[in-house]
Point group: C2
C-alpha cells in the first residue's frame, strides 16, 4: 500500500468545513467557475543540475521549497452551496451503495458488522489522468500477470534474490522457509490463481507512467474501486453540465466482479462441488464489507457454474483458526472446521502483524502444503516483494522470464529507478539528496516508507552498523506526479487541497498447467493523497479513494 | 406509529449476548431443533366473565398474569453457533443493502449522511402470520384508499367530527383551521395523491384481523419493509433447509417502488417538466436513507416519464425553510427556493413537534393554498386522525361514504372497538378493566398511548376535571395477538423473547378528477415488539422491523 511521491506544493491551505445539516439539501444549478480538468501549466520552480541516469526513466529532481508555486485555483471562487450539495449527495450515495467501512473510533466496528459504519474517505470528483498512460497501464496488466507466473516458477531465482533480505528481515525469512519446504518436497501448483494489482504514478517531468509496486497478496479495494466509479459517474451525471464534465471520461470498472469471477473459476477448476472458499481474514477488519460482497457474489452469482445444486460457499477464518481447525486429508485436501477447501483466498497474511505466534506460521505452511488453490501461493507472494521488484529492474533480468521483446520493452518502460543498498554510489547520492529517493522496507501495509531527512539518517546509521540490515530495504526513485486541486471528504466533512494520484490496475490470472483460463486486466482503484503527505494508505488516514478523469 | 397490544407472557427471558467477532464467521450446517412456524397451542390462562359487545369484533379479555403460561420453546436447545452465524449474515446483509439508520448515540447522524450508521433493529427471521388474514389485509388496501378519498371530500363531516377534539387538542385545531380556510376559499384538489399504510394485528381469540390505525401522512418504512423482505428471503435461501423454512412463504414486497411510482405519476399528472418534488423533512432525521432512496429512484428511474430530457428532481426542505423560501406565484404554482413544485411529499408535519413556531404553520398553509399536489392534502391528513377512525366505526357512518356493500362489510370486519370518551358506559368499563383498552391521543409518532393503571388514572382525572380535555383521546379495544418466540437483533447484539407482530399494508392512490390513475395495494412493512412492551415504534427502541411468514 506504500506510495512514493513528491511534494511540489508544501503546506496546502486546508479548510475543515462541516457540511450543513440535511435541511439545507437541494439540487441547485449554480454557476461554477472551477474546472481542474482544463490543462494547466505547471512550472517546476528549479531543476537540479545533476540528473541521475537510471534504468529506464531519468530521475526527476525538484526543489522541496515550493512556496513560489502559483496556486492552480482559488478556493474562494467555488460556490460553497454547490459544493455542500455535491458533498451531501456523495455521502448519501456512499451510504445507499455501501461505500462504507467500520469507523476506527468505534472499537466494535472492526469485528461486528452493521455497527459503527462510516463512509470511506473519498475524493469528491475524479482527478485528471492522461488517457495514453491509462491505456498503457491497462495493457500492462496481462503482461505483469504472466511475468509474475513465470518468476514464481523459478524457485532458485526467488531464493537467491532474497537471500540477503532473508538474514535482515525476519518476515521474509519465514516466507522463504515455507517456500524452501515446498521446493524440497517438489510441490507443484498446477492450478495457479492470482488477483493482483499494479500501482502506478505518472511522473510529471518525464510524462512517463512508473510502477510503484506490484501487489500479489490480499489485493484490496476491488469493490471500493467499483463503487468510487459509480459514485463519480453518478455525481457527474447530476452535476456534469455545471462542472463541464462528462461521465464517460471516467473509465468503466468491473474489478469486484472480475475478482469474484477469478475465485469462482478457480473453484470450478479445482472441481470439488463440496469445496468451500476459505477467506483468510485478519482478527480485526474494518474493510470487511468488500470481502463479504465478494463472498455474496460467489454465493449468489455462481450457483450453476459447476453443479446446479451447489452454491459456492465461503468460510472466514483467521490464521490462528486455520491452525486450530485445519488439517490435510490423506488425499491432500485442506479441511478447515470440517469443510473441504477448494481455494484459499488470502485477505490476511501479508504483514508480520498477522503472525503474532507460531500458530499462524503453522497455518500458512499447512495451507501451502495442501492441494487447495492458493490465491496467492507462497511463490506469488514472494514475487510481489520489493526486493524482487528491484531485481527484475536490473538489466537483463526481465529477459530471463519474458520472451516477447515488445512485452519486455513495455515492462521496462514503467520501471522506476530501483536499487539495493549494496549499491554504494546510489547510497551516497541518496544521502546527499534524500528528497529524490524513497526507502522502502519489505514490510507491506502503508506507513512504512522512509523519506527525506529520515532517509538520510537511516542510511548513515546502516553504514555505521555495517551489518546486513541494509538488505531489509530497497531504494527507489522518488516519483513526482503533477499535483491537482481536489476536494476530499472524510467523516462527513470536506476540505480542499492539492493532491497526487496513484492508480492501481487489477489483474486476474488463472491457469491449469498449460491452459491459461484467465489473463485479464480487471478494473482499477485509485488513491489520492495530499501532496505534502508521504504515505498514501487510505485506511491509516493519509489518502482518500478516487477514480480518474481521462484527459 | 402507535401499536395496541397485550402481554400474555410477561417478563420474557432476555439474554443480551454479544455476537462473536468476525473471525468466527462461517456458514455451517448444524442441526436446529427450534421451529416457531409449527402451529402451537396457546391456552389463555383465564377468560374474564363479562365479555363486552363491540361494533364488530368481540373484545378479548386475558389475564395479565401469565406466569403460568407454558414456554413455547426452550432457548437452550438452539444451536448458539448457528444463531451467531445467521445473525452475522443478517448484519452483513443489512450493511451491504443499506438497511441502515443514523445511530442515536451519534448526534451528527441525524443531519450528516454517511456518518454514525448502524443497522436497523430487526427480527432475525419472520414471524408466523395466517395467509387468509394477510390476503384480507391486502384486499382492504384499495378499499381504504377509496374510503379515505371519499371522506376527504366531506369537509363538513371532518369539521363536525373533530369539533370537540379541536377544543381539546391544539395540534388538531391548527390542522382544522387550515382545512377551514380551504373550505372557505372553496379550494379543490383535482389531483389527489396518497401513500397510506393501514396497520393490523390478528386478534388471537377471535382469529380476526383488526385495524390498529390508518396512516395517511409521512408514511414511512417502504424501503425498510422491502429490505426486510430481501433480508429474510436471503437468510431463508441460505438456512431454510436447516430451519425448515421456505422463502416463498415470505410475501414479495414492492413498497418502495410503488411509493416512488405514485410520486412520479403524480408529478407527471401535474404536467410541469420543470417541476420538482418537494420533500418536506424534519430538522433531524435518522431514517433519512429511505427518503433519499425514493428521491434517487425518482431521479434515475423516471427520466423519460414525461419529457425525455428531464429527470424528476427532489428538493428537501424543512417547514421553516419552506416558510422562508416559499411563495405562491400568480398562477398558483408553489415555488420554493426558485423551484416550481409539482408534488409536496410530506415526511414531516405529522406531529406537533414539527411546528415549534408560527413559521411552520405558515409554511403548511402556504403549501396547502398552492396548486401543487399534496401527498397528502390537509383533508387526507385529517381523515387519518384517530377520531375519524373512531367516527367511521360508528354504526351507519361507513355507508355514507361507501356504496359497495361488500366493501362496507370488509371494512367493518377489520374495525376494532373504538369509542369516544363521551361514552360513559365504556369509560366506566375501562376504569374497571383498563387492561382491555388502549387510550390513544390524537398525537402521532409512537410512545403516546396509555395503558393499564395509567389509563385508569387518566380517565379518573379527566372525569374529575369535567373539561373537554377528554376529546383529545379515544378509547380502543385492546387487541391480543398470539405471541411467538423470536430473535431480535439490535446494535449488533441478539436477544430472544416472545413478540407480537403488527403488519402494515401500504396503499397508493392517485386520481385526477374522475379518473383513477392508481388504486393499489403497495407492499408492506411489519413491526414486531416484545409482548411485554406496550409501544411498538421501531426508532424509539420498543420494536424491531420484521416481515411475515405466511401460515
Amino acid at each position: 500500500m506504500g506510495i512514493g511521491s513528491g511534494c511540489l506544493f508544501c503546506s496546502p491551505s486546508f479548510s475543515g468545513i462541516r457540511i450543513k445539516p440535511l435541511s439545507s439539501y437541494i439540487f441547485p444549478y449554480f454557476s461554477f467557475t472551477f474546472n481542474p480538468y482544463q490543462p494547466h501549466s505547471l512550472s517546476f520552480p528549479k531543476l537540479m543540475s545533476q540528473p541521475l541516469s537510471l534504468n529506464s526513466a531519468p530521475l526527476q529532481e525538484a526543489e522541496a521549497d515550493s512556496s513560489a508555486a502559483p496556486p492552480l485555483f482559488d478556493y474562494h471562487h467555488i460556490d460553497q452551496k454547490l459544493l455542500d450539495n455535491i458533498v451531501y449527495d456523495a455521502l448519501v450515495w456512499s451510504t445507499l451503495n455501501c461505500l462504507l467501512v467500520g469507523d476506527k473510533s468505534v472499537q466494535r466496528s472492526a469485528t461486528v458488522p452493521g455497527v459503527g459504519l462510516v463512509h470511506l474517505p473519498l475524493c469528491l470528483l475524479p482527478g485528471p489522468f492522461p488517457e495514453t498512460h491509462w491505456k498503457q497501464a491497462c495493457e500492462l496488466a496481462p503482461i505483469f500477470n504472466e511475468l509474475v507466473d513465470r518468476v514464481s516458477l523459478d524457485g532458485k531465482f526467488l531464493q537467491e534474490s532474497l537471500s540477503r533480505t532473508k538474514s535482515a528481515d525476519e518476515f521474509t525469512s519465514r516466507l522463504l522457509d515455507i517456500h524452501s519446504k515446498m521446493l524440497q518436497i517438489n510441490k507443484k501448483e498446477d492450478i495457479r490463481l492470482a488477483i493482483s494489482r499494479s500501482d502506478y504514478m505518472v511522473d510529471e517531468k518525464t510524462k512517463s507512467l512508473l510502477q510503484i509496486e506490484m501487489n500479489t497478496i490480499s489485493t484490496s479495494f476491488a469493490l471500493i474501486g467499483c463503487l468510487m466509479t459509480g459514485l463519480h459517474k453518478s455525481l457527474i451525471s447530476q452535476y456534469g453540465n455545471i462542472l463541464g464534465l462528462d461521465s464517460n471520461r471516467v473509465p468503466a470498472n468491473n474489478a469486484v466482479d472480475q475478482s469474484a469471477d477469478a475465485l469462482a473459476k478457480g473453484w470450478s477448476e479445482y472441481n470439488n462441488p463440496r469445496g468451500a472458499i476459505l477467506v483468510v481474514v485478519q482478527v480485526e477488519e474494518r474493510n470487511m464489507y468488500e470481502q463479504h460482497y465478494i463472498s455474496a457474489l460467489l454465493r449468489d452469482k455462481y450457483p450453476f457454474l459447476l453443479y446446479d445444486t451447489h452454491r459456492i460457499k465461503s468460510i472466514r477464518k483467521t490464521l490462528a483458526q486455520v491452525d486450530k481447525e485445519g488439517e490435510i486429508l490423506p488425499d491432500g485436501t485442506l479441511s478447515v472446521d470440517g469443510h473441504p477447501i477448494s481455494v484459499v483466498y488470502f485477505r490476511a497474511g501479508y504483514t508480520p502483524k498477522d503472525y503474532p505466534s507460531e500458530s499462524e506460521w503453522r497455518a500458512r505452511l499447512l495451507m501451502e502444503q495442501s492441494s487447495a488453490i492458493k490465491c496467492p501461493s507462497i511463490s506469488y507472494h514472494l514475487v510481489g516483494t520489493k526486493k524482487i521488484q528491484q531485481e527484475l529492474a536490473k538489466p537483463g533480468v526481465l529477459e530471463r522470464f519474458v520472451e516477447n521483446k515488445d512485452h519486455v520493452a513495455k515492462l521496462r518502460a514503467c520501471f522506476a529507478g530501483l536499487w539495493s543498498l549494496e549499491d554504494s554510489d546510489i547510497v551516497k547520492k541518496a544521502i546527499e539528496s534524500p528528497e529524490l529517493f524513497v526507502m522502502k522496507p519489505q514490510r507491506e501495509g502503508g506507513g512504512n516508507n522512509i523519506y527525506g531527512d529520515d532517509l538520510r539518517k537511516t542510511l548513515l546509521k546502516l553504514q555505521e552498523a555495517g551489518s546486513q540490515e541494509d538488505a531489509a530495504y530497497i531504494l527507489m526513485q522518488r516519483i513526482f506526479p503533477a499535483p491537482f486541486p481536489a476536494i476530499m471528504v472524510r467523516d462527513g466533512n470536506w476540505s480542499t487541497g492539492h493532491v497526487i494520484a496513484e492508480a492501481g490496475i487489477f489483474g486476474t490470472y488463472l491457469r491449469n498447467k498449460d491452459k491459461i483460463i484467465i489473463n485479464n486486466e480487471s478494473g482499477y482503484m485509485v488513491r489520492t493523497k495530499v501532496s505534502s503527505s508521504n504515505e498514501g494508505g487510505v485506511l491509516p488516514g493519509f489518502g482518500v479513494v478516487d477514480t480518474v478523469y481521462l484527459t
